[in-house]
Amino acid sequence: MVTKAPSPSARQPHHRFVRTLLATGLAASALVVAPQQAQADDGGEQDGRNGGKNVLTVAVSQSVDSLSPFLAARLLSTSIHRLMYDYLTNYDVKDGHTVPGLATEWKSSPDKLTWTYTIREDSTWSDGKEATAEDAAWTFNKMMTDENAATANGSFTANFRKVTAPDPQTLVIELKKPQATMTALDVPIVPKHVWEKVGDFSKFNNDKDFPVVGNGPYILTDFKVDQYVKLAPNKKFWRGEPKFDELVFKYYKDGDAAVAALRKGEVSFVSNLTPAQAASLRNAEGIKVNDAPGRRFFALATNPGAQSKDGKKFGTGHPALLDPAVRKALFHAVDRKTIIDKVFQGHAVEGEGYIPPRFASYFWKPAAEQRIGYDPAKAAALLDQAGYKKNGTGKRVGKDGKPLDFRILCHATDPNDKAIGKYLQEWWGELGIGLRVDCLDNVSDPWVKGDYDLAFDGWSVNPDPDFVLSIHTCAARPATPKDIGATDNFICDSAFDELYAKQAVEYDQAKRSELVKQMQSRLYETGYMNVMAYPNAVEAYRTDHIKSITTMPEAAGNIFGQDGYWSWWSAEPAGKAAGASEGGSSTAVAVGIGAAVVVVAAAGLLVARRRRATAEDRE
């Protein structure tokens, strides 16, 4: 049985009404007072500047793994290091060729084994000491002698025999064997007098004492994990000081929230936009969308029969894919134009060679007779010729009589992989080939074990292509099936290796470019790796904050994640940049007053109710 209670309000209409009115009034006034004040401040900052400061705020999402140049591996961290420290050399903003950095000149000995760099005289550390060859020598020596200091960039010094600084302006590096990347050593040079005090390099993250001593265009002044990274311009930077008063990398873990912050003016720059976000920002006032050729390639990789260096075969790759005709047929049945239009929605360029077109000196295109274009009929004919006929149910069968059914590894977090997987199922299905799309959160396990037939593959390419080429050499394979090598997908081809060895010791740029192109031709020809697209870099910035900013390549290129510091160093304020702080102290004060009013009101009501209750109890 439930007792129906008489409505309390029927008995105490007056009290209730007054109480509700009071509470509502107080709450509303608190809400109104605070935000109006907040709005005034925000408006003030957006129209003017943050306390007279021009602040360039960049939305980022990737966590900093370490601020120590000896440990950092992530793009954001290494980009910040580009701003904090000068490197021996830099890449030209127009076409990526090597230009002076901390070193003004460099030359190699006739035997190609000794490199001599001239260190500039006008570079000083932010604590006033001069940056010399001794700092560079100490940095490299540390990496050569302490394996913890080689964590991030050890691959650059693995071939170094000896590094010395005979005088403050001369750095001499002796090599074990010739190395073509000597003008592309992406190693931040750190101040010896600061870093020699560090004990354990595997644990020192360079994020406790600010400002951090450096000699790059910006000085790191503050850092809070997953909240912000703040940098101030280095007034003594030899190339000239940056024009913004502060550069802030601010965290937005959600892309849509970052876009909202850009619209509001809380940030000046947002990168990694989805096609939908780019479309929505394209018509927004005061916002410029930069849809630029990217540095990545997006490819289809096939398992070439995983094998370790000791010659042992492992993995479960499909044997039919060892047949070049099958690989060629599969790629003839890929309509790359549809992928660009439908999946990338126009924000990509059709792929061919291994290295994207922005790296003009290494870019390679297949000749007309070599090109594997979209041609399903030719694909079917190739399979027929190679003996993979269709059976009664329309499925192609292999030489063992089993139907051709492949698996493809797809990154569960990448919508492009999934969408392209669907298209491939359709196109290859028409050929009579089955495809199972295995979307996993972490694809690296089956990949490393060779338990895949095909995989969606992609890499960011550096101005120097040595690394992305090295991952297809036989030497990159694991030592034994139990080990893990530096290989991308187990390719081992003696013709490719021969070319790789030649380019690695070729100091003549034109000759090296030619060799790199031949390597791409060979990679294309073998068909283990087929590039489908070069995705664009899609980013946006507020034109009322940033008057001008340099892209790389300068004609049409990206702003975020450049090889060098060009974008953030060159950015010019429009004079209206919003501050990193989106609510000034007066906003906070107003909010505080509002909150205090609410708390006091609540306490007052509580006391009133108590009093009333005891009064009624006494009655």
Binding site: T3, A5, A73, G154, D254, A260, G583, S585, R609
Partner: protein, 356 residues
């Protein structure tokens, strides 16, 4: 908001003042040893669970596929030697049993290992981010428990009425709304601003980064408004429904009729007699929710870029950063165990029939 706070404080006070059964005080006073034995039993159980969590966390996450060293250097020019060094640095080259004993020995001294991706002690990373999560979800749980209790009581007391239907209807609707979607809507409306409505709150983060002292506290409060609002909107329905149904169960009881027959005011019957007895299930739930506080809300923390443990857990899993995943798992599970323990220990104080 203000009247909610006052009303809940009163009910909570009432709960301790008149714990349901008339013989409560006597039973508690006379059975201190029984209670202590009961509490000790629960404490022992919690300790065993905690150890089980430690063991499970080690093996459970070894099942996650993927080579952490390869994953954390992906995209970097890395030689096989560098990969081997990293593996040696993190002890990944040791046999599984040795990794396990090392892990247990270290854990006993409070050392949860070193994160693969941040090159920093796991304990340090967690203590760095824990306050942000505790602040955000703690405030949200307190606020939504209070609102849920208050509205749940109102709804049950006048069940079937328009207010009740409206209350439960709104609560259920908000409960089924995905939190990240609601968060984004709030950002668009209250942070960016729509039409004449200006942007009132920051779009994300926990602080502006330029404040100190009291201004810093206010700045954090300003940043907290929207994420707390999201968590409260999505979360209060649960408390409301539990409180409503357990109060409805009590409402038919004879002792309420007796109380009314004594001539007590309806408000007093509700606050001093019905609500305390209906509180038990809700208290359990509030404690469980408090246990969840440590884990935070991955979705809301992500949408509002709140620098808490939720986001850290996501990052740890995506590498996978085993020491960090393990450490977080131990902290999350530990928080749940401790909160359950607290609820268990508190129960006999609320209802002496428990633990006898």
């Amino acid at each position: 908001m203000s009247s909610t706070a006052s009303s809940t404080t009163t009910t909570a006070a009432a709960a301790t003042r008149a714990p349901g059964s008339p013989d409560a005080r006597a039973a508690r006073g006379g059975n201190t040893t029984a209670y202590l034995r009961y509490a000790a039993g629960k404490l022992g159980g919690a300790a065993v669970s905690l150890f089980a969590v430690l063991v499970t966390s080690f093996f459970l996450f070894r099942i996650i596929p993927g080579d952490p060293v390869k994953a954390m250097t992906h995209g970097m020019p890395t030689s096989a030697e560098q990969l081997a060094t990293l593996r040696r640095q993190f002890g990944l080259d040791l046999p599984m049993w040795q990794q396990f004993t090392d892990y247990c020995a270290a854990a006993l001294t409070g050392d949860l290992g070193t994160s693969y991706q941040f090159h920093a002690p796991v304990g340090e990373l967690i203590t760095q981010k824990l306050p942000a999560t505790l602040l955000l979800t703690g405030v949200a749980v307190v606020v939504y428990s209070a609102i849920g209790l208050w509205l749940g009581t109102r709804s049950a007391w006048r069940h079937g009425g328009l207010g009740d239907k409206l209350n439960t209807g709104v609560a259920l609707t908000l409960w089924s709304v995905p939190s990240f979607w609601l968060g984004l809507l709030l950002i668009i409306v209250f942070a960016v601003g729509i039409g004449p409505l200006p942007g009132l709150f920051p779009t994300g983060g926990m602080e502006s980064g330029s404040e100190t002292g009291f201004a810093y506290v206010l700045d954090v409060a300003h940043h907290m408004v929207l994420p707390v609002l999201t968590l409260v909107a999505v979360g209060y329905a649960q408390t409301l429904l539990v409180m409503r149904s357990s109060l409805l169960d009590e409402m038919g009881s004879d002792y309420l009729t007796t109380a009314r027959a004594k001539g007590l005011r309806d408000d007093d019957v509700r606050r001093r007699h019905a609500v305390p007895n209906a509180l038990l299930p809700t208290v359990t739930m509030v404690f469980i929710n408090l246990g969840h506080v440590a884990a935070g809300s991955i979705l809301v923390e992500t949408v509002f870029s709140w620098p808490g443990l939720g986001g850290l857990f996501y990052q740890a899993l995506s590498v996978p950063d085993l020491p960090l995943v393990q450490g977080l798992f131990v902290v999350f599970a530990g928080a749940m165990i401790i909160m359950n323990l607290l609820a268990d220990v508190l129960y006999p104080l609320l209802d002496p029939r428990v633990g006898r």
